[in-house]
Structures are given as C-alpha cells and as structure tokens.
Symmetry: C2
Subunit: 403 residues, 2 copies
C-alpha cells in the first residue's frame, strides 16, 4: 500500500522537502513563518528542511535587516541565485525564444531568434536551440541547467515528444523530441504543446492559480486550448486534447488550409484579423501591432475587424464553456489583445452562445505571463522532477569535485 | 499529513473493507483467490475482511460444489441477496423509470411510469418517484435502501441538486433535489445529469471500464455528454460540463427552441430524425422504433434519414474528440441505434472532422448497459458512500432491534 510506504521517515522527509521547495518556487520569497503556517509543520521541522535545501544549493536564507517591528524577524527563504535553472524554449511560427529560467520563474537570460521560412525545419530549429545554450549560460550567474522543455504550436505525443501535426510549421510526424534529446546529450528534454504549457504556467503561478477548472485559449496564426480539469492537466489519451482550431464554426465559411471550410482558426487566427483589416497576409508581428494600434486609435476598419474577431472568439469560448464549465478562461496570444480592445463584444457573444448556468459563472481574463505563458510552462515542466524530489539534484560541478 | 493518518490500523481496515466491497460490486461474484490476487493482500486478511462484510450483511460466501479440479475450491463471494439496494431513478421526457438496484448492479425491481405532459412538473415527478418506493420494496427480497439518486435530462447544480435548465421538461431553476429530499425524509437523495451518470456507470462497470479518458454522448430529444478525464468525472466548476446540445453546428441551420439556429440538437436529436424521415414530431418511443425498423428494412427515406443523423453525429463526436482526445466515445440513447444502423457514416465523418492524431486512436462503441446507463449511474451514486465506507452501513431494522 502506498500509505504505508509514505509513512517511512525518508519518504516523509523527501515529501516535505518537495513541499517547501515548491512553495518557494511558487511565491519566490517566503519567510520561515509563512512556510510554517502554510505547511502545518513545526518551526524546527521547517528550519531543518530549509537548512537541507540550502546545503543542496537550492535556496538561500537571508535575515531581514532593520524594520521597526518588535520581535526577532523571520528568516526569508528564496531560490539560490546560483541554483539550478531551466532551459525553456518557445517555438513559434516567426521566432524561437530560448530562456534560462530560475526557480520562482525569474528569467535569468533570454534570446529571441527570428526564423526565416527556410529555418523552420525540426533539424534547423534543434540546432538553433542547442547553439543558444552556451549563450544562455553566459548570462547566468553560475547555476546549472536542470532540464530543457520546448513549447511547439502543434500536437505532441506526450510519451515520445514526436510532433504529430504543427500545420503552421508544416511539420508532420516529426520526431522532434528524439532529435533534441540526442543533441542535448544528458540534459533531460521534454516537448509540449504551447497551449498545454501555457495553461500549466497560469495554473501553477499565474492568472489561474485559484482555479481547478481552467482553459487557456491561445491564438496566434493557429488556435488551440490548454485545459485543466479537477486541478490536473487534461492532455487526453495521447496528449492531443485542446485541438480546437479546426472545429468548424460554419460549414459555409472560408476555406481552411486543412481542407475543410469555416474552421475556428479561419475566424480568429491572426490571418483572419489581417484579412478583415485589409492588410495582406501572411502575418508578422509588425502587421499585428499596426492593426491593434489602429483599432485603439479609432480607425473604423481596424476596430471593426477586431470586433468581428471578438465576436467569433466569444462564440468559440462559449462552446468550450458548454463542454467544460470552467471557472476561468484565459485568452492568450493575439486573443489577449482582442479581449483588451473589444471586451464587450467577446462577453456578449459568450452570453449569447453559452448555456445560462456555465455562462454566468465563467470569468474571462488575460494571462498573468503575457506572451510568456508557454515559455514559463516549459520551465515548469523542466523543473518538475526537481520539485518532486529535491534530493535528486546533483550539480555536475559538485559531482566532478567529489571525484 | 494524510499519509500518517492513513497508516492507523482502523483506517487501513476501513480502506481494505472498501476495496473488497468495491471489487465485489464491480464484478458481481469473485472467489477469495481472485480477491487475494487483485488486492495484493494475504489470504488470511482477505478471509477476515470478507467475514466482516458478511457480518455487516453486505456479502455472502458460498462454497462451490463439485467440479473436477484438484484442490480445495476457493470460496465465492457475492453481494448478499438481502443486502442494501439503491433506488435509482431515470427521469426522461416521456417516462420515469424507478428501480431497486442491488450491489453489483442487479436490478431487483423496476417500474416504468409513462408521463403525460401535465405530469412533468418537479412536484408531480417527485410524487411519482416517492409513491413508487413501496412498490419497489415489495419486489425486493428483504434488503433496505441505502439511498436514492435521480437522473435528469438537464443541467444540475452538483452541490444543491437544483436543476438549472432542463429544456425538454421545461424546467428552469427548479429545486428538485430539495423537493425530493424533503419527501424522502432520512433517505439520502442525489440528483445528477443523465449523461454524467451514464458515463459514470459505463466507466465503473461497463463499456469504458479500461478507459481513463471517456465520453458518453447521449441523444434522446436533447443531446448531452458525460465526460471522464484522467479517470475522474469532468463535472466542471458548477456541475454543468458536457452541455454540447446547443453548440452551433451551422449558424444558418434550423431554428432551435433555445432561440439560436443550427444547434447540435437540431441535427441529431430525436425530432431531427423524425423530421428527416417525414414522421410528425413530437417524438414517441413508438415513432422512433418505427423509423429504425424501416431503416433496417431498407426503406430509402428512413435509411437516408438515419444516415444524415449519422453524419452529423460523426462531426459532433469529432469536435469533442478534438477538445478531449478520449480513448473511447460511447454513443447512447437513440444515437446507439444510429451507430448500429449506419456505422460507416459515423466513422467517415469522424475521420473527416477530427484532427489526425486523436481521430486515429479513438474508438466508438455502444453502451454496455443499453438504455440503462443513466439508471445504473444513479445506482452508483446512491451506493458511493457505502462503497467508500462499508462500516457506515446500519440497516434500520438492525438499529431498531438493538434498541
């Protein structure tokens, strides 16, 4: 039975170390008193656990100086500035962002690499990512990478990291995880879908922290959803859940590159906005900024285009709300700006198309991490093993020194 | 910590009693050897647990007679025939089914009450249900009811049992759970959505036993879905998940009673089939049987009607598959017959409208419990507390005798 196993003292210690490190990771800086109160453990137990995490090089303790309050100030626990970091990667259509992310989600270094159309093969992107690692290391104060996780705008097999279909990268059945793992040698590599990673970050530490039933709708060139149900990721049987972009809104709608007509992506993807605004596709960041700036400035055609997208977005959200009855839906990517410019149009369509009960309780919000939700979610995945078992942390330098 | 709490001997005993009773409930009849193998407990522990469940009047043990195999035959454990039963109720548009269901899902007695249009108020249905309890008791060999659970074709607040919207019963915000509970006195009452209960039954003991990600699409007059994710029910924030019937398939489609156009229900609900087949609505069981019999017999109009429904059903299923990536989708109610008559049309549309990866792995199936999935799910809910804690079982007669 697991319950008797969990009662062994080492297992309890490991479990408690994981709890303390996870709390520090989630909030960044916590006093020993906070930890004592949150975890319901004694002050001396917390002290011993923090000391052990300090010895592992994972956290550091500082004594606040000064202050007019009476009594001894509680020690403050933070991630160690030279502790482990995650290599988080966000592969989008137009660029690849790589970042070194420390515990508590602090970005220690970041590169944004623009992609030419020729550079978007899995091999080329693998090389870009691997070559950026030394650059990231230069920007970091001395820690070591704990793992790498990569966000991809497509379906990803959760077991193998193979990308089944990333339409806007034109990838089909690409063994991207295996490619990356072979290039990254002994650094553990994970690959995930952008929306799945985005919702993970927002649920763990962002705009969905208090939600057990959460949806993150990401809209860039493609459209997808990351879903949390009962407090856990809904990945589906093979890791392909949330592929809403090619659900059909109207069978007599615009032709989609997938071969069908009227897919959600043709109504709320970036190219739909450009087309409605009279700007030639394909999309670029500059074009999108121009349209939103024009809409905010009151340009009638740009504003009308954003409002049309907002209305379709509201219907798309409503249909997810009917299926999932979430407490919150976070609108990410371009859709975050659509919601910012035309919130009433989104909300009116949600009200019109959602069933009364789930439509009345759902909240819509923008992501806490802005454009970085998927990147931060990748960092969460790269940190997951360490957070589950801090005793697994063996910096290579320390291992080398012990030889 | 829960792990230390779970290590107390009484807690372990309670946990193990629950495991044994749940296994017997799921499979009906198990040998002591089966139980020993499945639960990884010693033969003597299993013997003691079974003896305790026997003393509680929950199971009985029989020694198989005869047989040519060598060695002492293993005792066989079954639910006690005079043990507790659930009062399971399925409220549909045209009738209310009440049943006494014993452990392992054996139906000990059943009443089907036809509803006139005037009889479908929450009050009238509450009276019908309560009045059927003595009739059920007459059909039972001496056990006692453990609780009552009622399936309703509408949205149900999971906390209060209030029916938010049951369009085809014309109920809005009806405190049905409170009405029933007050009439049932000290018998615990639960109310659930039909599809949620159906998927629970099929997942626990039916066609989705081996699935962690399962959808049950129910189509009668209305259409809904019950969903299991990560092995647990997806009820949503307020219990309203799975309301797919009013998601719009085509904004220029037929007008729906909800005020929108082209809802899924207008394409695959019972009335859609009758209309396509040229039979006047509203639906009755007889009319539906006639249409399916004609389709099976090769009547062109009836067959074409069923095939049209099958195609729309396939698209509806595909769009759920894109969102949820389930391993299996069970088609229940009328849709089970649609799938039976025109499986290729359903599958072709799933292939056309689902994303490749999730579309390739999903299996479609008919419900193991036929028309009774929701009824059996209601029984599961009524049994849940007993199955979680068999020591809570206190038959009233025994309590009275002890006074």
């Amino acid at each position: 039975m697991t319950s008797s196993a969990a009662a062994r003292p080492e297992a309890i210690r490991q479990h408690n170390l994981a709890l303390v490190l996870s709390e520090v990771h989630r909030d960044g800086t916590l006093s020993r008193a906070d930890l004592t109160a949150r975890l319901g453990l004694s002050r001396s137990t917390i002290g011993a656990l923090v000391a052990e995490l300090t010895d592992l090089g994972l956290v550091e303790e500082l004594v606040p100086t000064g202050g007019a309050r009476a009594g001894r100030p509680s020690h403050v626990v933070s991630p160690h500035p030279e502790g482990p970091y995650a290599i988080a990667v966000d592969v989008d259509i137009a660029h690849v962002t790589t970042a070194a992310v420390g515990l508590s989600g602090v970005v220690l270094g970041r590169h944004v690499l623009a992609l030419g159309p020729a550079a978007s093969s899995p091999k080329a992107i693998t090389r870009l990512i691997i070559d950026s690692i030394p650059l990231l290391q230069d920007m970091v104060r001395g820690g070591e990478p704990v793992g790498m996780a990569v966000s991809v705008p497509g379906t990803v097999d959760r077991r193998t990291g193979t990308v089944g279909f990333a339409p806007n990268l034109e990838w089909r059945n690409e063994p991207f995880g295996a490619l990356l793992q072979s290039a990254a040698r002994d650094l553990p590599v994970d690959v995930g879908n952008d929306a799945d990673l985005a919702v993970l970050a927002e649920h763990s530490r962002g705009a969905g922290r208090d939600c057990d039933d959460l949806v993150y709708v990401i809209g860039r060139v493609g459209v997808g959803a990351g879903i949390i149900v009962n407090g856990r990721p809904l990945l589906g049987h093979d890791g392909h859940a949330g592929e809403i972009g090619h659900n059909v809104m109207d069978p007599s709608g615009p032709e989609c590159h997938c071969g069908k007509h009227g897919c959600l992506e043709t109504y709320i993807g970036d190219n739909a906005l450009l087309t409605l605004a009279g700007v030639p596709t394909p999309t670029t960041d500059d074009k999108m900024h121009t349209v939103f700036a024009a809409a905010r400035g009151g340009n009638p055609r740009a504003l009308s285009a954003v409002r049309r997208i907002a209305e379709s977005l509201g219907r798309g959200v409503a249909e997810l709300v009917n299926v999932l009855n979430p407490d919150r839906v976070i609108l990410g990517g371009t859709l975050s700006e659509v919601f910012d410019v035309a919130p009433a149009d989104v909300l009116t369509a949600v009200e019109r198309y959602a069933m009364d009960a789930p439509g009345q309780t759902v909240e819509l919000s923008q992501p806490a991490f802005g454009e970085d939700s998927a990147l931060m979610g990748a960092a969460e995945v790269a940190f997951a093993r360490l957070l589950g078992d801090p005793l697994s942390w063996r910096p290579r330098r320390a291992a080398a020194a012990a030889r």
